[in-house]
Symmetry: C2
Subunit: 917 residues, 2 copies
Amino acid sequence: MAESNNNSPATEAARVIEGKNVYFFGGGQADGDGTFRELLGGKGANLAEMSRIGLPVPAGFTISTEVCTYYYDNGRTLPATLDDEVKENLGKIEETMGKKFGDVNNPLLLSVRSGARDSMPGMMDTILNLGINDEVVAGLAAKTGNERFAYDSYRRFLQMYGEVVMGVEQYEDEHHDPFEAIIDAACEKRGVAVDTGLTGEDLKGIVEAFKALIKERTGNDFPQDPMTQLWGAVKAVFTSWNNDRAKVYRRKYGIPAEWGTAVNVQAMVFGNSGQTSGTGVAFTRDPASGENVFYGEYLVDAQGEDVVAGVRTPKPVAEMVNDLPKSYEELLEVRQKLENHFKDVQDLEFTVEDGKLYILQTRNGKRTGLAAVHIAIDMVNEGLIQKEDAIRRIPAEDLEHMLAPIFDAKAEREANKIGKGLPAGPGAACGRIYFHAPDAVAAAARGEKVVLTRVETSPEDLRGMIAAEGILTSRGGVSSHAALVARQMGKICVCGAAEVEIDYANATVKAGGVTIKEGEYISINGTTGDIYAGEIKTAPSRVVQGLIQGDAEAMSHDDYKKFAQLISWADELRKLNVRTNSDSPEQVKNAIAFGAEGIGLTRTEHMFFEGDRIDAVREMILADSENARREAVAKLLPYQKEDFVGIFTALEGRPGTIRLLDPPLHEFLPHTKEQQLDLANKMGIQVEEIMRRVAELHEFNPMLGHRGCRLGIVFPEITEMQARAILEAAAEVDGAKPEIMVPLVGFKKELDLQKEVIDTVAGEVREKYGLTEDQLAYTVGTMIEVPRAALTANEIAETAEFFSFGTNDLTQTCLGMSRDDAGGFLNEYQEQEIVTTNPFASLDQTGVGQLVEMGVEKGRSTRPGLKVGICGEHGGDPNSVKFCHKAGLDYVSCSPFRIPIAKLAAAQAALAEKEGK
Amino acid sequence: MAESNNNSPATEAARVIEGKNVYFFGGGQADGDGTFRELLGGKGANLAEMSRIGLPVPAGFTISTEVCTYYYDNGRTLPATLDDEVKENLGKIEETMGKKFGDVNNPLLLSVRSGARDSMPGMMDTILNLGINDEVVAGLAAKTGNERFAYDSYRRFLQMYGEVVMGVEQYEDEHHDPFEAIIDAACEKRGVAVDTGLTGEDLKGIVEAFKALIKERTGNDFPQDPMTQLWGAVKAVFTSWNNDRAKVYRRKYGIPAEWGTAVNVQAMVFGNSGQTSGTGVAFTRDPASGENVFYGEYLVDAQGEDVVAGVRTPKPVAEMVNDLPKSYEELLEVRQKLENHFKDVQDLEFTVEDGKLYILQTRNGKRTGLAAVHIAIDMVNEGLIQKEDAIRRIPAEDLEHMLAPIFDAKAEREANKIGKGLPAGPGAACGRIYFHAPDAVAAAARGEKVVLTRVETSPEDLRGMIAAEGILTSRGGVSSHAALVARQMGKICVCGAAEVEIDYANATVKAGGVTIKEGEYISINGTTGDIYAGEIKTAPSRVVQGLIQGDAEAMSHDDYKKFAQLISWADELRKLNVRTNSDSPEQVKNAIAFGAEGIGLTRTEHMFFEGDRIDAVREMILADSENARREAVAKLLPYQKEDFVGIFTALEGRPGTIRLLDPPLHEFLPHTKEQQLDLANKMGIQVEEIMRRVAELHEFNPMLGHRGCRLGIVFPEITEMQARAILEAAAEVDGAKPEIMVPLVGFKKELDLQKEVIDTVAGEVREKYGLTEDQLAYTVGTMIEVPRAALTANEIAETAEFFSFGTNDLTQTCLGMSRDDAGGFLNEYQEQEIVTTNPFASLDQTGVGQLVEMGVEKGRSTRPGLKVGICGEHGGDPNSVKFCHKAGLDYVSCSPFRIPIAKLAAAQAALAEKEGK
């Protein structure tokens, strides 16, 4: 942002005015500007910025996030000086807008909205039309000559204020929101479908009914004093920072609770004051596909909430040329001005009041992963931004959306298409229909794939939306809640499919003559908006088809080309190497197609389960003497060698880290009585023998048991066989670069002993193949996966030629937390904000991170230039990749599909470093 | 040692001569002295020292331990310069002794012995009579006029050399050592019982048979060249540093493999050259009881090996006054000279050759724990040493021997006494008889108590001796192998019980008319030497009787008085506080009797199993709602409170750290079908419900699962109840000092949340009892038991008012090693010297120790003066206690019986610190 705002070079900290809590904007000027995000929140900073660049913003002021912090630090009270500041700035609004707060003849109405540093759409509370009371409403009616408008505004205000500030709730035995119930009753009485059919007189009745409802439910009268209303609303916004929805959202997006929200108080303008008025939301480009078209929707004679809530299906913004032609022209100019100024896609809200256009807010538009890539590359091509900006701007995680499967073209053609909606979240989703969020969550927990299917969604549905594969709504446009959230989470979404009839009562969906019951399959194509009955076979995405299959059609597709462009930029910029965790030649080939620069982890035991091999493995485990074990192990040698030949061949000269046997032996034995009998018959031994051995190998805490190099120490013949298989394979494949990795080392001596075994075998293999040390070179290194290894890395590095951080196990041991068992409390831990993210998904930088840094530093203290990588699952997590860059690792290793993500994250880390971040 | 040798103030390092590998001693002078232990080993340094102080030591030289290191670092070869050095020093011996190596007319014979920095008796190989060959033997016979002596020496040499240097072994199908078989055959032929009955002619035949045996078994001729013999023997001694016995010994005593052994080459003197000759071993005081009497044994006309091996039962040293009166007088002078010089009990070997006394070696005498205390206190009283020396000198661990049970006096009087032997290792042992070490090991592994019962023991029996409760031999004196090893390991031992008839073939023991079969019980009193059939009831030791029961008779006993004296000195000197891990009022009372200064750990869950409480606990676990859980938890409150009232009362104003619920809940549920049915009936619910909950609570790695504060976070009502029980109890007991400890914290926020619950309860309790904050004070702290807690100790200490290192779990997580599962490989790890001691018994200072140091440092960085302790089992391990002192802990906490040990170790640590160690 700072970069795009050359007029304001000073830093925010320098310009924040000591003791100032309230910042004015409007009338072509502002106290703050776009760089004040921390203090004013994203919305407040942008309102200030918009005002500064001359956009028609209704005047207002922002109460800073510092006040939010104060509010929570001081038992939910506000600073004493705030009262004066608010009054002073309220005066400025009155002056700018030419209206007066609480004035019966020329009333100023206000909106009160939250605004955190990062946008959290729909998560916190908003109050509109604040300032109306029984007298003002009459004056408003008189002044505008529109009683209906006045009372409609009042009833909207009462409803919001009643719910948000005064705490009117829907009782458990009620089917509807009690306010909505009153409106529904009035509509029924009047014989109209929606509230736009109600008269001013009807609305007067509703206003009285609303006030009575508030009194009845809360025991308090609705406050008639506008200043009382204002303070109530401000506190409610601060309070909503800690509501459940906001907490869930913060957890998902890693937003710290300490940031707090700002409060924006702004003059209301009325899109609902007749046919020359209207309101809408728009994106400067298509946020779903990324296409460079003006994109949005509006409603005539409506307030903003009507558009977003999806209650009335709005019209595409292009049609404004007919309804409000002058305002549309102005809007197109605003679009250009915004993109040129902010250098990014803007998501703006506008209102036309009696033919005058107001821009209510603008912010960087949330977009799908697909759109993010398209927009960024396009903007580079348009000369609007640099390739570094493009790299910085695309959330690495979002690349996953370009790799997600799409529907198989033939299968989709043959499928039973039952309808079409707006394509709001690209991709292909199949799943069982559920209508209510809790059911969707429960079904997903059972392992079902779910398509959450609703008339419209609201913030209450958030958990269900997170749990679902895809989201389908029958009402609401591409800017509706469903579309917005889906976009942001990368959910596949089709919305506003009006022809789809959703019947909650009977738990069915009817469309295209087909009835689908709850729990039955539906398929949605979020790229086209098409809806199908049943399941449709999926196919790899175009990017994947291009990369893996080299499919010419896929490679000529814009998706593929832009993706490839992005990765090539990332490759130029990044310093970290990116390797793959792959266990078979096939996987290695795919990983290399994805851009892997070698293998960071091959788990040799994965090969033990293929075909007949498991028999030899079991024989090995059941052997009761070293000799018997040697015989069994010898049978495995040819299999393992064949695997390694395949892997080294696929690597085409790239380095390959191969880990020796790691899991506890009991994992290879059968555990049910039946399987044990089977095995006994096969081996011609007593089943009791097998049961005895299984019992003998049982461990209380297998994670901390007889596994890793502890196996190789007690049974060196296993290490011997694996070393032989690796080295003979290397001897037979030109350019093979084996890196033999000894797992679970905690003591230098463990590695010494295992290296001795490997070196001895190497001597024998060299002799057998007549190769010199140079001709058959290899390195021996270790996983750093228990804290002791990191703590004694200086000792271990005397022997180890490389380190690879096994952060899965390192997290388990550092935190004393079993990944398999954490389910019982980790949710609660996230709820209570003990952890901000799942430490098994994103590296715990504060704790485990210290061990990584210590391991690197100590390791290189005795072996300068020690090669260090990471092969835990964190290697594919963008934040963790950035940490690895900072910690000075040489490479990260991850599963093939995460490679592009890791590369992008690595490039971002390199850029951040350059910028001194 | 340096302290007692004021003539040699220079340090060893300064006086070691660069490039010098061989150090001469003899004729009243020496190249080294008593401070050269690292370089010359204990034996070599003492020989040098003895020579310097004018004791009659046969001349010799020591090859330094550096040569041993060279030997192993250079593929078992010796330095090139060694040859010249050995020849030069050999010349000096020849000059001093007036004999010539390899000379037929006046031959010098040599002994070649190992000698490590710390004595490892019997663990490594020794060669005597080196230098004899077919010609020398004849010359020796001619010169001494004693053909029998000459050939006896030769056959002894051949036997040792054949076994040790040339590797002649007993075949598996042989019942005897093949050399012994030849002697036995000769005895049989001659019709004599032992070899002393054989003639010179017989021995000549044996010599020829021995040479033939060596040729047959090894394919090589016995080397006739004395220099070849010498080099073979030197290498054999170095090689024996890594034999199995030596490794086992080093592991047990924590001696590093890197130390290496020196080789002592010394002129032979012959105790077996007739009736005016003899040999013996002696202690300057009784090493079993500590009594200040000259103590030892000798044999006339014998070599040293005969005494130690226990083949012939030697005479008490006092009887020498009759056999060799002049030498005895000289020996008593030597005794005095040695104690005055070395200020400690000396263990010496002597030989009389034709009436001339030689001292072959001296060293600090190994002694039992009982003797160690008595000797040290006596020496302080005699003015020989200071109390600080006494503290330094007694191995803290050895105090355990003074606390071990003795036989109940009445039960012992009534028991069936069947014999008596020499009291070689004090204490009372009952156990099943086993005759062979492997059987003893196997029985002990099955959980049986074992008394290893043998005619005599040899180093091969070591593992069996370690496994046994006690050791009984029918042959060998108090200086025999059995007695020596038993003494050193604190084993209860009765030896040389000649009237006990041990029949290996029939696996029986006959004594006092009773026959005891293998596997049946025997009881031995190592303090008196008495042997009993069957089991005898034991009673607490006199020290324990005095401390716990305040028994007047026990308190007047010398054992008690010296123990109390020692502990009072330790209390003066130590800086660390010593607390106890105790879970009940009774345990706390005992711990305070043992000197505890508070509680370091009370495990609240231990109380859950008493009486009916477990029912309420189970109800709590099976509860399906918070309310139901609250009801169940409420039932536990009165029980817990009662416990805490008892504990605070017993503490009499000392601080008490109480840990909140720690183990995973499933530990409280029944796991067999039967028990589950029982519980279901009792609770009136379906057994399926219980099975479901058990399955639900099952964890893959419970150690890393839902336990510790993770329980209190998810079920705060449990924390609430426990806090209430603790604080209400504290409110009711005057002077109670509760320290509430939250377990398994890894994140500061966990502790914050739990502290909030505790503080809220505290407010309620204060209100209930009408107490101010000062009147009901408490602190809240945490266990540091996962690495993350140590790594983020600075954050955690912002909330925690104290830390207690839970080193049991911290070891498990730091090493990634489950204590319950390590059995499968930890033995192998000790065998292979990956770990020197069991890390669960003695703190892994290199790894886990870093976390402890880090935790202390980081914790005090944010909370200066933070109180820090340790409550893992390491708190009672002397080495760990010393580490805790160095790391700056405030206290250690251990089980009641370990308290005196911890105190002594703490005093030793304080002394070491004073001395800058």
